[in-house]
């Protein structure tokens, strides 16, 4: 019992000391860097487009950056942290956070489309060459005027002059799996397609880009969805179609006075070379 008391008192002292020690470091203007997890399509596009890479062209986001695998957690964290910086899909941008201008260009659909906003990534559908007629028809629908207008309405960037789609009375089942970034817009496409083609059942499963590619390769689904370019090993097995482009917004806290960053500054922040908001 005596021992237990000693242990408890020592732990309590450690706890208090730890808190007192930690208390010294609070506040300030140190940049709080938040990133998506390794392998995320958003992160892959972000590092590649901004050149947040080492001498071997590999992802070099500073390891002390906070990591999350959820857009929602990213938004909540940035919304509650005055010194935070993060990045999310343009389509997920909410009023809780502020999207900064990159090199003086606002993160908007128009600017992604006209090429002035640099941070954008492809949404790809990948499939084997044995894809069923119904599967091909579904992709035709997505690439048509109707499909592309749904993509545009969701905040992503589609093609402008797409052909008109007419239903051809297909039957069958088309299974899709993959990117959680692509899935929300895919549900809308699925709904619209099945309204035109009552004979076809389209199923959409979310599980991440790589899981979708793996499923497409091993036949667990007909079409895989990826929010990034395909890797070489995936390209060897699958054909792909780019159905849309998605912008990536760099976000900061609403109270942050910064509203414009150069891409070099963002790159340095994520490399850990620029660590304080006042040091810009």
């Amino acid at each position: 019992m005596k021992l237990a008391k000693k242990v408890i008192s020592v732990l309590a002292c450690m706890g208090i000391a730890g808190m007192a020690f930690a208390g010294c470091g609070g506040g300030g203007t140190g940049i709080h860097v938040i990133t998506r997890e390794e392998g995320s399509g958003t992160r892959g596009a972000f590092t590649e487009l901004l050149g947040v890479v080492d001498e071997n062209e590999k992802d070099a986001i500073i390891s002390s950056a906070e990591v999350t695998n959820s857009t929602q957690v990213m938004i909540t964290t940035v919304a509650g942290d005055r010194n935070a910086i993060g990045y999310i899909s343009l389509g997920s941008l909410s009023a809780d956070v502020k999207a900064v201008q990159l090199d003086g260009v606002s993160a908007t659909v128009e600017n992604v489309k006209n090429g002035t906003y640099k941070l954008a990534r492809p949404f790809n559908l990948a499939y084997k060459d044995t894809l069923s007629a119904a599967g091909e028809d579904f992709i035709d629908f997505i690439m048509s005027e109707q499909g592309q207008s749904i993509i545009t309405a969701e905040g992503y960037i589609g093609a402008d002059d797409a052909p008109t789609y007419t239903a051809s009375g297909m039957t069958g089942t088309v299974k899709l799996a993959g990117s959680t970034s692509v899935a929300p817009v895919m549900y809308k496409l699925q709904e619209a397609y099945m309204r035109l083609n009552s004979g076809v059942t389209v199923e959409v499963n979310e599980g991440g880009s790589s899981a979708g590619m793996t499923a497409a390769i091993n036949g667990a689904c007909d079409i895989g969805m990826a929010s990034r370019d395909l890797t070489d090993s995936e390209k060897a097995e699958l054909d792909f179609t780019t159905i849309a482009t998605d912008g990536i917004a760099v976000i900061v806290n609403i109270e942050n006075s910064v509203s414009n960053l150069t891409s070099e500054e963002v790159r340095k922040i994520y490399l850990g070379q620029l660590t304080d908001w006042s040091g810009r």
């Binding site: 609070g26 390794e38 992802d59 695998n69 964290t77 509650g80 991440g208 880009s209 790589s210 793996t214």
Partner: protein, 304 residues
């Protein structure tokens, strides 16, 4: 509950001393049925182990066991896989959860077992059970929107060992409290009465006689708590910050083994995927160790 079942079985045996034929048939059939169910659960454990080994070992040998276990850098994009930071992360967060949760849980258990007035018990007990049943994602969101902002405002940094420890402490509290309470109740009443008869106050009787007597059960409760804390993923991912770096303080962000898997599994391919499954093997070994510890504690408890 176990005692009730035993009593019921004894009663039934008294009612049917020999048992009718139909009774025996039902018993035989259900015996086979239950054996089958038991086999299914054993088989699923074996399948999981097999899956981990088949998928993880090739990656492990490609990376190198030493590099994997003791490498402090995790950069899948550059094919660098070291889980040391996450082993440290898992251990520190679990230790933090024990420090934050166990004292509270033990005091709760003592209160429930010895001092709680009956009407209050009827409220407190279900609340505790409810607490155990709250899904971890709800705990995680609570942590993200309540605990993290509080810590951020006080210390200037929200996510890290401290936030994860506090949250995990809350999550293991009901389990540890409930198992400890049962252990405390299992101590024969004569111990407590004997202490009182020797002039101890009720508090002294509980803390220096009943609690030590219940130690094996209480230790088992703590080990159960450790198991839950080390295996928790969903909630921890939301509040720990998940940086794959060695922590340098209570506020430093950490990535746990579970968080590593949850974070990157959905996008991983090739060697990265194998490395994540190998992370699962490390985690599995940890859980195995906790279970062995639990079994050992139960064993010593029974011997006493």
């Amino acid at each position: 509950m176990t005692r009730d079942t035993v009593t019921a079985r004894v009663l039934r045996k008294d009612l049917h001393p020999r048992g009718g034929i139909s009774h025996r048939v039902t018993e035989g059939v259900s015996r086979i049925l239950f054996l089958l169910f038991a086999c299914v659960s054993i088989l699923s454990v074996l399948t999981i182990v097999l899956f981990l080994l088949v998928q993880g070992v090739p990656a492990l040998s490609e990376i190198g066991v030493t590099e994997f276990l003791f490498g402090s850098e995790w950069r899948p994009s550059a094919d660098i896989y070291g889980v040391l930071t996450m082993v440290v992360g898992s251990l520190s967060v679990t230790a933090g959860a024990i420090i934050a949760g166990v004292p509270l849980a033990l005091l709760t258990a003592i209160f429930l077992a010895r001092f709680c007035p009956a009407p209050f018990y009827r409220v407190l007990k279900p609340v505790l059970r409810l607490m155990a049943g709250i899904p971890s994602v709800v705990y995680g969101f609570f942590g993200l929107t309540v605990i993290v902002p509080i810590l951020y405002n006080v210390f200037g940094s929200g996510k890290g060992i401290l936030s994860a420890s506090v949250l995990l402490g809350m999550m293991i509290l009901p389990t540890v409290a409930e198992v400890s309470e049962n252990a405390l109740r299992a101590v024969p009443g004569s111990y407590y009465e004997g202490a009182l008869a020797l002039g101890a106050t009720p508090e002294a009787g509980v803390f220096s006689v009943v609690l030590p007597a219940a130690r094996p059960g209480v230790s088992a409760a703590i080990v159960l708590g450790i198991g839950r804390a080390i295996g928790e993923a969903t909630a921890v991912v939301m509040v720990a910050g998940n940086q794959p770096v060695l922590p340098d303080g209570l506020l430093s962000g950490v990535r746990t083994l579970t968080a590593n898997i949850v974070l990157e599994m959905s996008y991983a391919a090739d060697l990265h995927l194998g490395a994540l499954i190998a992370t699962g093997i490390v985690l599995f070994v940890f859980v195995l160790l906790t279970n062995v510890a639990l079994a050992a504690l139960r064993h010593t408890g029974r011997q006493k």
